[in-house]
Amino acid sequence: MKIKKPEDLRKIKTRGMILLSPDTARITVGTATCGNARGAEKTVNAIKRELKRQGVKADVVKVGCNGMCYAEPIVEVIRSGKPRITYGYAGVDRAADIVKSLSTGKPVEDIALLRHDEHKTADGIESVKYSKGRPGRTYSGIKDYNKCDFFKKQKKLVSRNAGTINPESMDEYIALGGYSALAKALTSMKPEQIINEVKTSRLRGRGGAGFPAGLKWEACRRADGEKKYIVCNGSEGDPEIGMHRSFLESDPHAVIEGIILAGYCIEAQEGYIYLNDRYVLASERVKTAIRQAEKIGLLGKNIMSSGFSFSLKVKRGGGAYVCGEETALLNSLEGSIGEPRTRPPFPVEKGLFGMPTVVNNLETLANIPLIVEHGGKWFAETGTPSGRGTKIVALSGNVSQTCWVEVPLGTKVDDIIKTFGRGTANGKRIKAFQTGGPSGGILPARLLKTKLDYDSLARAGTLLGSGGLLVMDEDTDIICMARFLTEFFADESCGKCTSCREGVKRLLDLIDTIAEGCGTEDHLNIIKRMDKAMRDTSFCALGKTAAAPIASVIKHFPGDVKKRMLKQ
């Protein structure tokens, strides 16, 4: 059946709702990359075996990640009329207990993390009710989802479905309000109107540069070209973050819906999703989702009789960090070497195959359905003046809980580390942190009160980037850290422009000299001059920011640097 009117979604919605809270039971296992690494697939098989052995009936469903990567494998149990129970650390050996809880009605207390009486999306529109009446004494020992800081302090707008729905089921996505924004747009909104809403929302790019999405679309819409393209940047080359991977593995339709809407606004006929070469599972789930959307006519010719036709393809990248840069990405899509292009002309004028092209990060695009559904004004209520909406943040390094979360822009870095990461792994002091991947500066603990938004981080000397947050404790050798990041740039420089190609090598020599204890004041001065020179003359932001880690260490950790200097 093809969807023609918004009402046509209703039937699918009912079907999806039954899947989400069936009359029998539903057992979900988190099988994103973080879960699989901890053996989630084995847990799935063990649960299936146990169901058979104990003669119990339940749907076993693979879902994505709810952000609690530290507690993987995560298993959830939903029984008709009873609260949804979240279990953590559910290895193969716990499968029997979990299955047994279905027949006894008693939850497995020692691994139960949360109880969930009703699932509500953060926009408050959709909900799935689990418990009928009050949950009773059986569940009193288990923490209520709504009272759990880990979720209470988040605002899960973009990632609302992650970990709840089956990423390979479009019905479940639609059940929780999916594709209703697209249906609304195609049947009752003009492209200009949507672009205006996106402008009102003041949504800025989540991929690094933070350019306002609405303005980019408008420029592309105005540009001349016989064809136009929308490209979703899923390159995610920063070496510490996997939240966009995890998000795609958890809710691919959310990104696809955003891409179709973007395509409608700029009048593109074709879209590409450019994925990091290692994202095999994400790529499979996205491809499945595309096939499902094609089947009900949300991709293809004359979508919902609106006259708008659009097709979407997934392309696997070649595994180079610089291919995340939008013009290098376009070169890579065209089958050339991933080297950045001269700008201007900007991609919105001359992009893929020389045609006007919008390149957006996948998280930017996943925000679009929310803006279309609720309006730009509603969206702008969250966040701070320099950044509206939320940001998905991946927390890694020396934290006790590795996780990814979605918080309003403007949340303090400190709060994120304390609330979600539960501080450092063994109670040690935090020495430094870094946001925005390798190009961000390494900042000292005294700046932990900095707000996580575009301007506050820029003032502190770093950037929001695509949302990595790395924590380093007091044992970290900060010089060694700067060396590691410099080596990263030396590895990843594409070699096109001289200042980056030669600059990164010289920087690495200099930091080596300092790390070996032979550095002098002169070395530091050369680094400072090189930082400026590389910022002024490099072709793309990779070279421009390559000296940022070292320069920030010299600036913020003078004590550490001095200790390493040559004793004269």
């Binding site: 973080c34 690494a37 901890r38 290692r278 990248g317 070649g318 089958g335």
Partner: protein, 154 residues
Amino acid sequence: MTDIKLLPNAQKMLERVERIIAKNQGGQETLVTILHEVQDRFGYIPRQALDLISQRKNLFLSTLYRLVTSYRAFRIEKPEKHIITFCNGTGCHVNSGESLLKESWATSIQNSLNITVEKVRCLGCCNMSPALMIDGEVYSGQDAQVKIAEILSE
């Protein structure tokens, strides 16, 4: 080169590559996809496959070679029986990922003719940090030690 071992099967391999090329009609924009498909099939991109692709797509072999070697995803040498991939991401680095390389077994695996050792920028499972991947499966801590000992004793 390792290709010599492959010769008896070369014909079969080339037929395979020919089919992959036929499936991806078009110009240069199809190259990265073709290269991925060849590598997924054979574990690397054999020299004869490069020759064939350059002929079919009307490219200089040198141009194609430059493309292949500019991307990290592609191998042009046949990997050994086992592939051990160390995570060299920032998160694992902070959690002493490099100390894994200093473990007693590290030199043994570097020297083993059975094992190809690689480093990547992030395995995407910071919850296991410091992590490494052995033949497609992620390991850390004690499990990694056990698995590596098993491979070394083969």
